[in-house]
C-alpha cells in the first residue's frame, strides 16, 4: 500500500509540474489548471484509502466545510478583489501547515527526537504562523478594513529581529525536552503570529504586489517544511514549486519598482493610496478638459495606447473601458493596452480585470514591448495610474521613484489622464506630466468619465 501511495504521490507531483508548465501560454493554461486539479484529486483519494485511518468523521466534516467555503468564495469574488482573495488563501495555506505540523507533534510526541525533526517542526510552525497573520493584515489592507498607509513604530526592525531570535531560542529549548515541550511550541506559534503582523503593517498599499508574492512563497515553504516533518515527498515538491513561484514573482515586482526587497519590507514607503496633498506647496495651473474635448481628440486620432492602473479597478471601470475600445476600433483606430508590471495590487491584476471585460489578451502588451511605440502614438490614455508614468523616475535622484522603469506616455502626441484629483501618487511624488501642455487632465471618477466619453462617441 505504501508503495502504491507513493507512486500516486509521484504522479500528482508530475501533474503539478506539467500544470504549471502549461500556464506558459494562455492557450494551454486552462488545461494546465485541470492537470493540477487531477493531481490534487489523486493525492487526496489515495490518502483517504490509507488503511490506518480509523475515523472518517472529522475528515468528512472538514472536507465539506472547506469545500463549501472555498466554492462560495471562488464564485462570489469580483475580479477587482482578486488581490485580497489571494492574500486570504495564502493565509489559509499557512495556517493549514501550522495545524498539520502541530497535530503531528501531538500524535507522535514520543517519537520526536532527532534534530532534523525538531528543526522542521519549528520551521513549519514559524513560517505557517507568520504567513497566516501576515496574510490577514495584507487582506485587511487590500479590503480597506485598515489603512493602506504604512504603520511604523520606533525600533520596528529591531523588534522583529528580536522576535525571530526568540523563536530560535524557544526552538532550541523545545529540542532539549521534546516530550514536555508543547509550551515552547505554542510560544513559537504565538510569537510568529505577532511577527507576521509587525512585519506586514509597515508596508504600504502600493507595495502590496511584492508582499502578496512573498506571502505566496511563504505558504509554499510552509507546506514544504510540513513535508519535512511528515517525510512526505509530494508536500515537499509542491511546497518547493510554490515557494519558487512566489520568489520569482517577488523578484519581478521588485525589479519593476527598481527597489530591493529589503527596501520594500523595511523602508515603509508611501503615503495613503492616492490621497494626501503633494509636497510642492505652490499651486500650478492645470487646464480642465471635459469628455467632449476627449471625444474630439479621439475622433482625430489613429492610434491610442491605454494605460490602466489601480484606479481602474477601484472605479470598476473595466467594462466601460472595453466599450470605449470597441467604439474606437470601429472608427479604425488602433487600440492597445500598456501594462506596467506593478499596475494594480498584485502581479497580473490589470490583465485579469481586462480579460474579464472581454478585452482580447493580444491587446494587453507588456511594458518592454510597447514602450518604444508611444512616440508614434497619437493618444496615451491613462486611467487611474500615476507613479508608473511619472517622469520624475527618470531624473529626480531624491525621489522614491527614481530609477523605476516607467511607461513613456509623455512621448505620445497627446496624453489624456483620467484622475479624481491632482493628488500625488502613492510614492508622494508630484507628477509634472499633469501640468504639461500636451496633457489633458480629465477630472472625475474613471467609470463616469469613460461612460461620458462613450456616450458622446456613440451619438456622433
Amino acid at each position: 500500500m505504501a508503495v502504491i501511495t507513493n507512486v500516486v504521490y509521484l504522479i500528482a507531483s508530475v501533474l503539478f509540474i506539467l500544470g504549471l508548465k502549461k500556464l506558459g501560454s494562455p492557450k494551454t493554461a486552462r488545461q494546465g489548471n485541470i492537470y493540477s486539479m487531477v493531481g490534487m484529486l489523486l493525492a487526496i483519494v489515495i490518502t483517504l484509502l490509507d488503511r490506518e485511518i480509523i475515523d472518517f468523521t472529522y475528515i468528512i466534516a472538514g472536507l465539506l466545510i472547506g469545500s463549501v467555503i472555498g466554492a462560495i468564495a471562488a464564485k462570489k469574488v469580483e475580479m477587482t478583489q482578486m488581490p485580497q482573495m489571494v492574500a486570504l488563501f495564502n493565509g489559509f495555506g499557512g495556517i493549514a501547515s501550522t495545524f498539520v505540523a502541530y497535530a503531528e507533534f501531538v500524535n507522535t510526541k514520543h517519537m520526536v527526537g532527532g534534530t532534523d525533526v525538531v528543526v522542521s517542526l519549528v520551521l513549519s510552525l514559524l513560517i505557517g504562523s507568520v504567513t497566516f497573520t501576515g496574510s490577514m493584515i495584507a487582506f485587511m489592507k487590500l479590503q480597506g478594513w485598515m489603512t493602506g498607509r504604512p504603520i511604523v513604530f520606533k525600533g520596528q526592525v529591531a523588534f522583529n529581529g528580536l522576535l525571530l531570535v526568540a523563536t530560535v531560542v524557544l526552538g532550541w529549548m523545545f529540542g532539549m525536552d521534546t516530550i514536555n515541550g508543547q509550551t515552547f511550541l505554542l510560544a513559537i506559534i504565538a510569537i510568529a503570529a505577532v511577527l507576521g503582523v509587525t512585519s506586514v503593517i509597515p508596508i504600504g498599499g502600493a507595495d502590496m504586489p511584492v508582499v502578496i508574492s512573498l506571502l505566496n512563497s511563504y505558504s509554499g515553504l510552509a507546506a514544504a517544511a510540513t513535508g519535512f516533518v511528515l517525510s512526505n515527498n509530494v508536500l515537499i515538491i509542491s511546497g518547493a514549486l510554490v515557494g519558487a513561484s512566489g520568489i520569482i514573482l517577488t523578484q519581478i515586482m521588485c525589479v519593476a519598482m527598481n527597489r530591493s526587497l529589503a527596501n520594500v519590507l523595511f523602508a515603509a514607503v508611501g503615503t495613503d493610496s492616492g490621497g494626501g496633498a503633494s509636497g510642492g506647496g505652490e499651486q500650478r495651473n492645470v487646464t480642465r478638459y471635459t469628455a467632449d474635448d476627449a471625444a474630439m481628440i479621439f475622433e482625430n486620432s489613429e492610434s491610442v495606447i491605454i494605460v490602466p492602473g489601480y484606479g481602474l479597478a477601484v472605479a470598476q471601470a473595466q467594462h466601460v473601458m472595453n466599450e470605449l475600445m470597441q467604439l474606437l476600433e470601429k472608427r479604425g483606430i488602433k487600440v492597445r493596452f500598456a501594462i506596467h508590471p506593478v499596475a494594480g495590487r498584485m502581479p497580473g491584476h490589470m490583465n485579469v480585470l481586462l480579460a474579464e471585460a472581454n478585452v482580447s489578451y493580444d491587446k494587453l502588451v507588456e511594458m518592454e514591448a510597447i514602450n518604444d511605440d508611444f512616440q508614434s502614438t497619437d493618444v496615451a490614455l491613462v486611467v487611474g495610474a500615476n507613479d508608473v508614468i511619472n517622469p520624475a523616475a527618470r531624473y529626480k535622484k531624491d525621489s522614491p521613484l527614481y530609477g523605476m522603469p516607467i511607461l513613456n506616455v509623455d512621448q505620445a502626441e497627446r496624453v489624456m489622464i483620467i484622475k479624481r484629483s491632482l493628488a500625488a501618487g502613492f510614492a508622494g511624488e508630484d507628477n509634472e506630466l499633469f501640468y504639461d501642455d500636451n496633457t489633458m487632465m480629465l477630472f472625475g471618477d474613471a467609470k463616469k468619465m469613460l461612460t461620458d466619453i462613450v456616450k458622446i462617441l456613440k451619438e456622433e
Binding site: 504521490y9 504549471l20 500556464l23 494562455p26 493554461a29 494546465g32 489548471n33 493540477s36 486539479m37 490534487m40 490509507d50 490506518e52 475515523d55 475528515i59 466534516a61 472538514g62 472536507l63 466545510i65 472547506g66 472555498g70 466554492a71 468564495a73 471562488a74 469574488v77 475580479m79 488563501f89 495564502n90 495555506g93 493549514a96 495545524f99 498539520v100 497535530a103 501531538v106 500524535n107 532527532g114 532534523d116 505566496n216 509554499g220 507546506a223 513535508g227 508536500l235 515537499i236 509542491s238 511546497g239 518547493a240 510554490v242 512566489g246 520569482i248 514573482l249 519581478i252 501594462i339 508590471p341 502581479p347 491584476h349 490583465n351 480579460a355 474579464e356 482580447s360 493580444d362 507588456e366
Partner: protein, 99 residues
Amino acid sequence: MSETILFSIYIFVLAIFVGFEVITKVPPLLHTPLMSGSNAISGITIVGAILSAGLGHSTLGQVLGMLAVISATINVVGGFMVTDRMLEMFKKDKKKEAK
C-alpha cells in the same frame, strides 16, 4: 543527520530548480492565475491534514487535523475554481480573422 532528511533535502532542492525553470516561462499576462493556481497546489497539506484527522491517536490531534482539513480544502477548492474562472476569461479576439 538521518538519511531520510537528506533524501528530503535532495528532493526539495531539485524541485526548487524545476520550479524556477517552469515558472520563469509563465508570461506576466497570467501572473494572477499563476498565484491563485500555485496557491491551490500549496493546499497539498490536505494530505497530511487528512491523516492527522483520521488516525485517531488523540482527540486533540483529530480536531487540529480537521481544522487543517478545512483550511487546506478552502485553499484547494477555492484556488482551483477561481483560477479556472479567470483562465476561462482569457480569450483572443476572433473577429479579425473573420473579417
